[in-house]
Symmetry: C2
Subunit: 419 residues, 2 copies
């Protein structure tokens, strides 16, 4: 057989590199996700909470005398595999709706997204004024920006597991999350641009800002319009192919290409995957399914079963529990978290009739790794000789992300079941 | 949404790293594999040949004025994804047989493996005597060792696509390939040990050799015996779990753990995956399937559809067509290839009654990347101040690998259909 012989005895041989590590990590992820999910589901909690806890325990095993796995979570290969899991999850979620159905909630979703960006920004600014009164207003604005962006992975997973993807509130949340991604891009660009400009003495360029927004909008509209035009023709043409698995191959190809283009447009890859899911419709594959191909959502199930837990376990692994050790940080962290939660719950105020405002707000609440990315950018920005995000602020951001991410699954599921 | 914002405009932002590259590579792999497979199947050739050709064209695109993708094929992430594809393929192949059925052909498979290792070694030694008469006998022995190991991926794929996995000849080939992996380990250890000993003046250690073999055998026997004991109990116990997807999660976990242990035992990960497939039997999951779980082989189909083409396309990408440019190399390469082919066809001489000797020999023929790994090890070994495998010998080895790998799919399929 394929003898990748690690020939240690004579000191020569093939280095298997990351293969053994990834094999073990995947075995651990898929089995532990199943067991932890089962356990928390028996406690009435969503499975994804179990995966996050497994991740936190694994990532902080060194604190309990276990092995230090923190480097593993940030290894390139596991990052890519986790991101593929997120892409497939959002593709799967997107398949449950059509562009038309999303357009129908478009106005309301935009309203929800705007409220969900503006309110946390104002509250975050207020926290800055209150807790860091001697710092510049620009730093306070950055604190606000850190609270703005929603990470929809958690919510999408809870909605999917609760079989609620076709409910009106689910469409509004998902639509708002896409618009939120565009708004987050703008907010980060403007705030970071102002800070950079203040540091270097140059002016921020309105043209550069406009270009960022234009790219994102061109991608979103292009993906939906061009994609909707191409997709039925593509699959009708593919009926000429005789081999099995054509639907899965073309759909995944389409999903991966749109995810790639989203990245190139400055958006998250999962926004592209979601758009790809929206565009593809069961009716496009009807001819293939009649010939005996399995329906697309059935083929996707094993792929998401393997890869999605890797995403959520890795998200948990990135949490460093040691950053919560300092008591002085905790007051600031608690206030920041409160601002983050209230800011998104405010979305509920613009809920349409018949939709629970609480469910809407809770769905927009999780920040996932987005908040950490924002905080990381802030740590690189310098204002008056110091980083905009210092160690204490960073720890507060981590707390805010962990709290909003961990609170969402149980609260959202409770709120969905209540209504 | 999950705003992994590449905020290039202000020079800050999150580096998406390998994610965009892998997204594009996967889209390319799955779509091109389907199209090329369809094309070559219409020409009566096996789909895997199409994937290899796509890989060779992609890997050598720079020769035709295209982008240079050679670094991509050897990137860690793509290597791991490809190896996962090979692991899932051999797991799937192993599911078609049981340990009992493999034991039934065990004696014959051992005979086939021994003939398939000894004959190519003798012929390779002869090529060395003929073409490199002034070099040491140890170098000639290394040439022989390079021809010994079979890479079973290609054959397993052709057998699977031809729906022939349950035929007696298929079991003999697959069993022989496992034993071949152990023998290859021994041959490489002995030959490289002798050369290293000659270089450093130390003696090779019989104990070290025995340890290499013992580890491999302990793994193989342990995996089959312990695995067969654990597997039915594991799945019966798992009936207590209520969530869906338990069979897939536990099976993949089992497969990945055995692949990892195989690597640790000095064997290829796919040997572990094959053993895992042998051990698991449909009857173990009967209770789960009755509860509505999809059968395991159905859940594996989408996973192999995405990942297996990556393995074969990458195998093609690793071929550097420029190494065949020199005419002086081609004579040596042709003779080495002839020795490689005849050496494995000799296995046909020990075919049992009712099994085509030609099919058996052709099934053992492909060297895949194994030959290249051996050649790479030889390039690091030094004898009388020069590397055992110089540039010319390496190019010959590459030619031998490409020829045996590309010839196997069409010839094997033809031979299977003929009988």
């Amino acid at each position: 057989m394929n003898a990748l012989v690690p020939f240690a005895a004579a000191g020569v041989g093939h280095d298997p590199g990351a293969v053994p590590t990834v094999l073990l990590a995947l075995a651990f992820a898929i089995v532990c996700a199943k067991l932890a999910g089962e356990l928390v589901e028996r406690l009435g909690q969503p499975a994804v909470l179990g995966e996050l806890i497994v991740g936190i325990l694994a990532g902080n095993a060194a604190l309990f005398g276990g092995p230090d796995l923190s480097a593993l979570a940030s290894s390139e290969t596991l990052t890519v595999i986790a991101e593929l899991g997120a892409v497939l999850l959002l593709f799967h979620v997107g398949l449950e709706s059509t562009p038309k159905e999303m357009m129908a909630v478009g106005g309301r979703a935009t309203l929800v997204a705007v409220v969900g960006v503006v309110t946390p920004m104002l509250l975050g600014f207020g926290v800055g004024e209150l807790m860091r009164p001697r710092e510049s207003w620009m730093l306070h604005a950055f604190l606000g920006a850190m609270l703005a962006a929603t990470s929809v992975g958690i919510t999408a997973r809870v909605l999917k597991d609760a079989d609620a993807l076709r409910a009106p509130f689910a469409r509004i949340i998902l639509g708002a999350a896409v618009i939120d991604d565009v708004l987050g891009l703008v907010v980060l660009a403007v705030v970071a641009g102002i800070i950079t400009a203040a540091g270097t003495g140059t002016a921020i360029s309105a043209a550069a800002m406009a270009w960022i927004v234009a790219k994102a909008l061109v991608f979103l509209i292009g993906a939906l319009v061009v994609g909707s035009f191409i997709s039925p023709r593509l699959f009708r043409g593919a009926l000429a192919l005789r081999s099995r698995g054509v639907v899965l191959a073309l759909s995944l190809g389409f999903c991966f290409v749109l995810s790639y283009l989203a990245l190139r447009a400055g958006l998250a890859p999962i926004v592209g995957a979601f758009a790809a899911g929206l565009v593809l419709e069961d009716v496009h594959f009807e001819g293939h399914v009649q010939r005996g191909e399995p329906p697309l959502h059935e083929s996707l199930e094993p792929l998401t079963a393997l890869l999605v837990p890797v995403f959520f376990i890795r998200m948990g692994m990135l949490v460093d529990l040691r950053s919560f050790a300092s008591a002085s940080v905790l007051g600031f962290a608690a206030l920041l978290t409160l601002a983050a939660i209230l800011g998104k719950l405010a979305c509920g105020a613009v809920a349409p009739k018949g939709v629970s405002g609480l469910t809407l707000g809770l769905g927009m609440m999780p920040r996932g790794e987005v908040g950490l990315i924002f905080a990381g950018i802030g740590a690189q920005l310098v204002l008056a000789g110091r980083p905009v995000v210092d160690a204490g602020t960073y720890a507060g951001a981590v707390f805010m992300v962990v709290a909003t991410t961990m609170l969402t699954p149980p609260l959202l599921l409770w709120s969905i079941r209540r209504t």
